[in-house]
């Protein structure tokens, strides 16, 4: 039994821990469980600001004489990830409030087919843009849905699988790649978290291990903790040419009837983001499509899928799953 905590990458880390134990020959069956009780937890970062002290006294890493959240930028997640999406727009152009809102519109449309989603109501573009602004350009429905949740995955060795029933073998899904990366130091990475480089590194390792490329993916569940984050990960996961995420999204590619369906579960914005469960819930979503058991939201004939999470600090988990040959 291992208890792991790795921010939003917790579930992926738990799954990878079980996979590594099997690969190491320590056991032939593992169970990875992610559970979160999150309802009402609020912003999760940037704690309440207290009254300033009676005397200015420098403290902490920066010798700050008062709380810096809100005075030296923002520490809240909606604001941090807003900047991550806006930075992409600064580098490559083409982003706008409406573009980011349209990404959210897609995921909320997708979740209408998912009975397990936190929100299963479709939002119009106008409703999304007109909702409560949290951190421009992210309005409330463009942020992950805070909710409780749990997910689990059983992993077995190839030898163990052969001892199971034919039905279990048929439903089994192959883990073709299980990768967890950390971010190297780069200019600015301690000023604004860099979620790009470690995702690019994880994706390229995973494609190499699995022997598949982004063009082979039938569906992708990626870490859309905010609408602004989804855009950058199209590029980071190599789903589009470098700098091409805006055109890629506008082509319709990431809608469920597009060439690379992304977040057909509704994603974190609509299915919900029970933090420790997220990195296994996305595995379950992909596996359910590969088994042909996704009901109304089934991506027909899905044979290869990718699940991605980011935990700030930072860790990136990428798993590539393939339909069983059995």
């Amino acid at each position: 039994m291992f208890n792991v905590a790795n921010a939003c990458a917790t579930g992926a880390t738990a799954l990878r821990t079980a996979i590594m134990a099997i690969r190491a020959g320590e056991c032939d069956t593992g169970l990875a469980v992610g559970v979160e009780k999150l309802s009402g937890a609020g912003l999760l970062a940037g704690g309440s600001r207290k009254e300033d002290a009676a005397n200015w006294t420098p403290s902490g890493r920066y010798g700050a004489i008062a709380a810096i959240d809100g005075r030296v930028g923002t520490e809240t997640m909606p604001g941090v990830f807003a900047q991550i999406g806006m930075e992409y727009g600064h580098r490559y152009g083409g982003t706008s409030f409406e573009l980011f809102a349209r990404i959210s519109e897609k995921n909320h449309a997708h979740s209408t087919l998912n009975p397990l989603a936190a929100y299963s109501k479709r939002f119009t573009l106008e409703e999304i843009m007109g909702d409560l602004m949290i951190a421009y350009p992210n309005t409330r429905p463009m942020c992950s849905a805070n909710c409780d949740g749990a997910a689990a995955a059983v992993v077995v060795s190839g030898a163990k699988l052969k001892t199971l029933s034919l039905e279990q073998q048929r439903r089994a899904v192959k883990v073709s790649a299980s990768v967890l990366t950390s971010d190297p130091w780069e200019e600015g990475c301690q000023v604004l978290p860099n979620v790009n480089t470690l995702t690019r590194n994880a994706a390229s390792q995973a494609y190499e291990l699995a022997g598949v490329g982004p063009e082979d993916l039938d569906l992708v569940e990626l870490h859309d903790c905010f609408a602004t984050a989804e855009l950058v990960h199209y590029d980071n996961l190599g789903l589009c040419p470098e700098g091409g995420a805006v055109d890629f999204f506008q082509s319709g590619a990431t809608w469920r009837d597009g060439s690379t369906p992304v977040n057909v579960s509704g994603g974190l914005e609509s299915k919900g983001h029970p933090i420790a469960a997220t990195g296994i819930a996305n595995i379950w979503e992909v596996a359910t499509h590969l088994r042909g058991e996704a009901g109304d939201r089934q991506i027909e004939g899905a044979t290869v899928g990718l699940a991605h999470v980011i935990g700030l600090g930072s860790a990136c988990g990428v798993h590539i799953l393939e339909r069983s040959a059995a």
Binding site: S48, R49, A64, G79, F97, Y136, W185, L192
Partner: protein
């Protein structure tokens, strides 16, 4: 602190020409706003103090409308590129909306008073304001 003022953070240098300063790794040139025993980029252990330019470009921003209790909103948070060094800061002296704050806009360092404590010391904060 001798002149009765204290900066919000150590890396804000007050005086006639307020500016930000960083610890620069002698071996690889990486910049840090806090004290380091060793460089996260190259493991070097020698650092010098370097002043950053006061003018730069806003490379990303958000307008925070919903923050933790006690944090006044709305405010503009962003990252400013000061000659190749990224700096986290608020954008100040501007209307906090997307008509007035734009990606790539030129900004310069500006300081403001945060008030005076019981000992009579004035705290000085900083942000970046539009150049024009």
């Amino acid at each position: 602190m001798g002149d009765g003022t204290v900066p919000l953070v150590d890396y804000l240098v007050l005086g006639d020409t307020p500016h930000l300063e960083v610890a620069e790794c002698v071996a690889c040139g990486a910049h840090y706003f806090d004290r380091r025993n060793a460089c996260a980029a190259c493991s070097g252990t020698e650092f010098t103090t370097v002043a950053l330019p006061a003018e730069g470009e806003l490379k990303t921003f958000t307008i925070v409308a919903f923050a933790a209790p006690g944090v006044p909103v709305p405010f503009v948070a962003g990252v400013v590129d000061l000659g190749g060094t990224s700096v986290r800061a608020n954008v100040i002296n501007v209307e906090p909306d997307a008509d007035h704050v734009t990606l790539g806009m030129k900004v310069r360092l500006a300081t403001y008073s945060m008030g005076t404590d019981e000992a009579g010391t004035e705290a000085v904060g900083f942000g970046f304001e539009p150049l024009s």
